[in-house]
Symmetry: C2
DNA sequence: GGGGCAAATCTATGCGCTTTAATCGCCGCG
DNA sequence: CGCGGCGATTAAAGCGCATAGATTTGCCCC
C-alpha cells in the first residue's frame, strides 16, 4: 500500500489550499465550479480517500452507530461455534438454521442506519470482554445499541454519559437509558385469552423462567387473562440453563405419571414451546389433540414446526430500527429525558393451539 | 451529553502527563502500578472514553474491517423492504424466513473480526450509492470485503491501492484483488457424478444462467462429469430476472408437452431447484419419482423442503471468515501478490435425487 | 554521599481534516 | 480613480491521541 494521499497532496496537485479541498467535499456549492473540478480531478488521479479518523476527530462525531451483539449460541445452547471446527462438521449443520433473534434485530438496526446515512459498527460481547474492548467500540461511535444483559449496567451508565445508549427489548424501566421494548404483557394476555375464549380451555399452565423482566411481564399478561376469566394460575418449574430438552421430558413424564397434564402450556418463549412439543411427542401426547402449546417470539423454527406453533410475534426488525432511530435522533439533538418506546406485538394463530388442521 | 473528557482531563486529575495516560491504556506494563491505578481511577471518575478517531489518526490504522453488504431482497425478489411498511404486514411474513446467503457470510466475517480483535463496519450498497458513500466506509477501515457485483471494478481497484480489498465468492481471476471462492466446478461435478453412478441416470439437464463466472464453473463441472461418462450435455434456457417461477412452470409444461422431460435437473442454484420442484409438483410430476432435481448453495430452504433438496453446500460462514482473515493478515503485512483462496464444498445427499425416502 | 544505570515519566510533535476568521480579487458605483 | 461590498480562497488553530526522544526518578553499589 502506497502512502495514502491526504488533503495536502490533493491541494498541491490542484494548486489550491487544503481548505478548498475540504470544502469541495463537504460544501461543494461554496466553491467555484472550475476549481471544484480541478480538485476532483486531482483527487481522482491520486486515488484520494478522506480519512474518517481525521474527519471524526475534527468534527467530534464519527457518523457511526454501534451495536453490541453477543454470542447467542454460546449463551443458549452451551455450544460455542468453534473457530477451528472444520467446515462441514455435521454438528454444526443446523447451527444457523433459522435467523436468530438478534440477527433480526441487527438487520433492523442496519436498515435504519443506512437509511439515515450512518454506518454500523458491530462488536461482540464475549465473556472475556474487558472494559477496554467495550471502550474500543464506544469510543468510535456516536450512539450505542445493546442487547439486554450483555453489559453490566454500571458500564452502560458510564457510557451513556457521553453518548446515547439504547437498550433493545428491555422492558420499560427507569435505569436512565433509552429503551425499546415490546408489549410482552399484552401479547401473552391476548394469547391466553385466545386459549380461553376460542378453545374453551380452563387449565392453562404458564411455562417460563421468571426473574427476567420481559418474562415477568409475559407472566403478568397470562395472569391477567386467567384472572379475568376467573381461572386458576398454574406454573411449571423452570429448566436449569442448557437443560431445557431433558427438563421438558422429565416434566412431561411427571405430569403424565401424576395425571396432572394441563389442557395447555402457555410458554414464555418459542424455544420452550418447541422443547415441550418435542417432549410431548416423544411421550406420545398429541398436540394440539390432547394439549395445546403456545410460544412467544415468532421464531421461524416455530413456523416450520408441525404443528405450526401458535405464538406472539415480536417485531424484531422494527425493534432494531426503532432503537437505531432513537439513537440517531439523540445524536442530532440530545434530549434530557431517556426515550422509552414500546412496540405492539402480533398474535400468530397457527396450529398448535388447536386452530386449523394440525 | 457533557463534553467528553480527554486524556488531558484524565492527566490533570491524576497528576501526570498525557503520555502517561496514554501508556496506561496501551502499554500498562510500562507504567508503575501505583500511577497506573491513579490514572485508572481518574479515568473512571471522569467517565473517560478514548476517542477512536484520535487514536486512529495518530496510529494510522482504524482497527476496523469494512463489509459492503447489499440489498439482497431488492435484488432477488424485486421486493424492497419498505422502511415505512407497518409491522405485521403479512406480505413481509416470510421475508426473512431463512438466513440468506449474505447473512451467513457476514456472520463469518463478524466471527473472524472479533476473534482477531477487529470491529466490523457494515455499509450497504444501495442503488444510490455515491462515490462519497463508498469513501465514507473505505476511509474508516483498514480493509474492505465486498460481495461480487456490488461495486464497480474501477472503484474497487482504486480503493485497493490504499487498503486491502477482498472479493467474497468471486471465482479466481486476475483482477488484482484478493479473493475467496468455492469449488464450484468440483461441487457440481461430484453432484452430477452422483446422479450418474448412484442413480444410473443418463439424461441430465443443466439449469442455470451462464454469463456469471461462478455459474460457468458449475456448468463446467457438470460438463466434465457428463463427458467423463460419455453422456450428452443438455441445458435448459435461463429464466429472465424475476420471472423464475413463471418461467419454470412454462418450461416444465413445454417439456411435458413435447415429452422431453429429462431424468434429472441439475440446477445451478437452490433457488432454481426449488422453483422447478414447485413447477413440477404443480404439473403433477413426482420428485424424485419421475425426475430428480438438485441444487447448489445449501440454503436452509432446501433442507426444509419436501423432498429435501440434494445439493452442494457452500461454506458460507467459512467464506466470510476466510475473507476477513485475509484482510487482517494483509493489514498486518501487506503482500505484493493478491491472495486467492478456494474453499471446498460439500455434497449434501438428501431426498430430491432419489436417495432415502422422499 | 556520589556515580551509574534502568525504569518511569514527560516534552514536543504530528496524524489528516474541519472550521473560523481573515485575506484576496473583482465588480460596480460614486 | 478610489471605495464599498461580496464571493472565493486561504491561513491557522485546533480536534484527542501515540510515540520518539529527552529528562527525571529510583535504586544499587562503592
Amino acid at each position: 500500500m502506497a502512502k495514502r494521499p491526504t488533503v495536502y497532496d490533493v491541494a498541491a496537485r490542484a494548486g489550491v489550499s487544503i481548505a478548498t479541498v475540504s470544502f469541495t467535499f463537504t460544501q461543494p456549492h461554496k466553491v467555484r465550479p472550475s476549481t471544484r473540478e480541478a480538485v476532483e480531478e486531482a483527487a481522482r488521479a491520486l486515488g484520494y480517500l478522506p480519512s474518517a479518523s481525521a474527519r471524526g476527530l475534527a468534527r467530534g462525531k464519527t457518523g457511526a452507530i454501534g451495536l453490541f451483539s453477543f454470542d447467542y449460541y454460546a449463551r443458549n445452547s452451551g455450544v460455542t461455534p468453534d473457530a477451528d471446527a472444520p467446515f462441514g462438521d455435521e454438528a454444526n449443520e443446523d447451527f444457523r438454521m433459522f435467523p436468530l433473534y438478534h440477527d433480526e434485530v441487527q438487520r433492523g438496526v442496519e436498515m435504519e442506519c443506512w437509511r439515515r446515512g450512518y454506518v454500523l459498527m458491530v462488536g461482540d460481547t464475549k465473556s472475556t470482554s474487558s472494559e477496554a474492548d467495550i471502550a474500543g467500540i464506544a469510543g468510535r461511535v456516536d450512539g450505542l445499541a445493546v442487547f439486554p444483559n450483555t453489559l453490566p449496567d454500571e458500564i452502560l451508565l458510564r457510557i451513556s454519559k457521553r453518548i446515547p445508549v439504547v437498550e433493545l427489548s428491555i422492558p420499560i424501566n427507569n435505569n436512565g437509558l433509552h429503551g425499546v421494548s415490546v408489549d410482552n404483557e399484552g401479547g401473552l394476555a391476548a394469547l391466553t385469552e385466545h386459549l380461553i375464549s376460542v378453545h374453551g380451555l380452563t387449565d392453562i399452565a404458564f411455562v417460563g423462567p421468571l426473574g427476567f423482566p420481559d418474562k415477568e411481564h409475559r407472566f403478568s399478561g397470562y395472569s391477567r387473562a386467567m384472572e379475568a376469566a376467573g381461572l386458576a394460575i398454574r406454573t411449571v418449574d423452570t429448566a436449569p440453563p442448557g437443560q431445557l430438552a431433558a427438563f421438558a421430558r422429565d416434566t412431561v413424564a411427571g405430569m403424565l405419571a401424576e395425571g396432572t397434564l394441563p389442557q395447555a402450556l402457555a410458554c414464555s418463549t418459542d424455544e420452550e414451546a418447541l422443547a415441550y412439543m418435542d417432549a410431548l411427542a416423544a411421550a406420545g401426547v398429541s398436540v394440539p389433540g390432547q394439549i395445546a402449546v403456545t410460544g412467544f417470539d415468532g421464531l421461524v423454527a416455530g413456523l416450520v414446526n408441525r404443528p405450526a406453533l401458535t405464538t406472539v410475534r415480536q417485531p424484531l426488525v422494527e425493534l432494531g430500527r426503532t432503537g437505531a432511530s432513537i439513537l440517531i435522533d439523540q445524536v442530532a439533538s440530545p434530549g434530557k429525558e431517556p426515550v422509552k418506546r414500546q412496540l405492539p406485538v402480533k398474535l400468530m394463530i397457527r396450529e398448535s393451539c388447536g386452530c386449523r388442521a394440525a
